[in-house]
């Protein structure tokens, strides 16, 4: 990977569901070691982009290239589990998807499945409790503990994940995504449902991941304090089209963005949360 290549290249991505054009010819790039945010009003197609990236949807048209140190991966072509295993794309969900009946620690160890499978020699070494497997498992637990410490969940390591409070579940999901040792971390509304204090902690965590672990982050977010506070680059979608692309400052002043958030008319009868977002934008 040369210095100029972006980490992720999305080219002419189009996703059609029957008669609905959810994404219409969207192209953007996400740089390595940078936080790229995708924003837009409800129904703009942000989550659909994520679902295409992580193999949940097969794009109608388009190319999704991940430039990995090991080589390029075309994400729309490879089998679902290899997107995480080989390309190293990790993802979290807006409506959290943990393994609720596993412990917190087990959720994190599971994310290192492929490392452990290699060490367990396809299960036999694991079943016999051989040293290679025990060592690998000890290392997996060590990495899990490291992330538990980072997201402040060490105390709850043995809880069933489903019993954690909401904010903790969100942080655990990020920790789990980091345990697959990704090249890019995709976060779908990580601040949704968090209070201002929790969302400030989240910002710090994301910056820490960018700076210390040096991976790219791709972020779909509604919360403008998160987006404006930490993003290096912002892509704005509206009705499935890209309407702006640039640094937070550029996007903030872009008339097309203001129009998309406000509508063409005057801004009298705005719902309160839109008004708040708008204030943040300005």
């Amino acid at each position: 990977m040369s210095a100029g290549t972006p980490l992720l290249g999305v080219e002419h991505l189009t996703m059609r569901f029957g008669g609905l054009l959810a994404i219409d010819d969207v192209s953007f790039e996400a740089a390595d070691k940078k936080i790229t945010a995708i924003i837009g009003p409800n129904g703009a197609g942000k989550t659909t982009v994520f679902n295409c990236l992580t193999g949940f949807y097969q794009p109608t048209i388009g190319r999704l290239t991940l430039h990995h140190p090991k080589g390029d991966f075309l994400l729309e072509r490879i089998e679902g589990y290899r997107i995480a295993k080989d390309a190293g794309v990790a993802r979290t969900f807006q409506n959290i998807r943990l393994f609720p009946r596993m412990t917190v620690l087990e959720n994190l160890v599971l994310a290192q499945h492929n490392v452990l499978m290699r060490a367990s020699r396809y299960t036999f070494a694991g079943l016999l409790g051989m040293k290679v497997y025990r060592d690998a498992e000890a290392k997996a637990v060590e990495l899990a503990r490291y992330w538990l410490d980072k997201v402040a969940l060490t105390e709850q390591a043995d809880w069933e994940a489903g019993n954690l409070p909401y904010g903790d579940q969100r942080r655990l999901e990020i920790a789990r995504a980091m345990c697959i040792e990704p090249t890019i971390l995709c976060l779908d509304e990580p601040a949704a449902g968090l209070n201002p204090r929790e969302s400030a902690v989240l910002n710090e965590l994301l910056l820490f991941i960018r700076d210390e672990h040096e991976i790219g982050l791709l972020l779909v977010e509604h919360d403008m304090s998160v987006v404006m506070g930490i993003s290096d680059h912002i892509v704005v979608l509206d009705y499935g089209r890209k309407i702006a692309d640039g640094t937070p400052d550029e996007v903030r002043r872009d008339p097309a963005v203001i129009r998309a958030y406000l509508g063409e008319e005057d801004d009298e009868e705005l719902p309160p949360e839109v008004a708040r977002d708008l204030d943040e934008l300005r």
């Binding site: 290899r82 997107i83 295993k85 087990e106 499978m117 789990r176």
Partner: protein, 304 residues
């Protein structure tokens, strides 16, 4: 009291067989939400592979019982899972994501296919095997009755306990087992953390078939006669056991199997043999009315 003890022993042996088959049902249901009705046939194939292996060993002159048993056990537990694996690969995987009804009908179709396959290859007549292990302990003697705990029953119970321990270790301690449990909870998410879901599902079928083949061998040793149709009734009973214990729950499957075995044994002892199946199924109906999730099953809570 003597009579009760005897029936307890018989019921436990029978229950071990049902429980071993029930685990296969419950695992497959847990992971892909489908009742694999051909699982009873996998059990039957396990019994057939065992009898063929015994007869071959007999002609080869391996007559030392422990060695013969060990070889047959290994042969059955290696060959039967190939059927389990092929069943999933050929019949179920192409239907992944199709409506449940399609998968269910395919399972019934595969069940009929496998019955006929064995009937064609092996004939419809019952296949006898002379007792491999005979004798046992007699205790609690009175004038007209004594309790017999046969060596075979001891062997069955010991082997069942060992196999269950290995199985529990496999599911709880290895990374494959962890992946298996993850897939039960959320297939899509498991794939997103890099778990090869197809391979994990194959693994589930292979493990289920291994346990079923053991049950087949035990059935053969215990009853001495098998035919191509034994999988049907045993399969339905084991399915009942899985539902009774709570479908999707592994300890539940074993518990359900043992309960069904005991109910049958006691009912035929104290009431009528003819109605033992009615008794087993009636208990199932009662459990489903008052505890629809089964004894150890957890209710499906949908978060909104």
């Amino acid at each position: 009291m003597e009579y009760f003890t005897q029936q307890l022993i018989n019921g436990l042996t029978l229950g071990a067989i049902y429980g071993m088959i029930a685990i296969g049902y419950t695992m497959v249901y847990g992971i892909i939400g489908m009742i694999n009705f051909a699982h009873g046939e996998i059990f039957m194939i396990g019994a057939f592979i065992s009898i063929i292996a015994f007869l071959l060993l007999g002609t080869l002159g391996v007559t030392w019982v422990p060695l013969a048993l060990l070889i047959v056990l290994l042969v059955a537990m290696v060959l039967t899972p190939i059927y389990g694996w092929a069943l999933e690969r050929v019949a179920y995987r192409p239907l992944r994501g199709s409506p449940r009804l399609a998968a269910l009908i395919t399972a019934i179709g595969m069940s009929i296919f496998l019955q006929n396959y064995v009937q064609l290859l092996q004939g419809a007549r019952v296949k006898p095997l002379q007792p491999v292990i005979s004798g046992g302990f007699e205790f609690m003697r009175t004038e007209n009755f004594s309790v017999v705990l046969s060596y075979l029953q001891i062997l069955i119970i010991v082997l069942t306990v060992i196999l269950m321990a290995v199985f529990t270790l496999l599911i709880n301690r290895t990374s494959m087992g962890r992946a298996q449990r993850a897939c039960e909870q959320d297939l899509g998410m498991a794939s997103l953390v890099g778990v090869n879901v197809d391979r994990t599902i194959s693994f589930t079928f292979v493990v289920g078939a291994t346990l079923a083949s053991f049950a087949g061998l035990v059935f053969l040793l215990n009853y001495g006669v098998i035919d191509f149709y034994i999988g049907f009734l045993a399969g339905i009973k084991a399915f009942t056991a899985a539902v009774l214990g709570g479908i999707g729950s592994l300890p539940g499957a074993m518990l359900g199997g043992i309960l069904i075995g005991l109910i049958e044994a006691f009912w035929s002892a104290y009431f009528t043999v003819e109605y033992k199946d009615v008794a087993a199924y009636s208990i199932l109906v009662l459990v489903l009315i008052f505890r629809p999730t089964g004894l150890l099953g957890k209710p499906d809570i949908e978060k909104v």
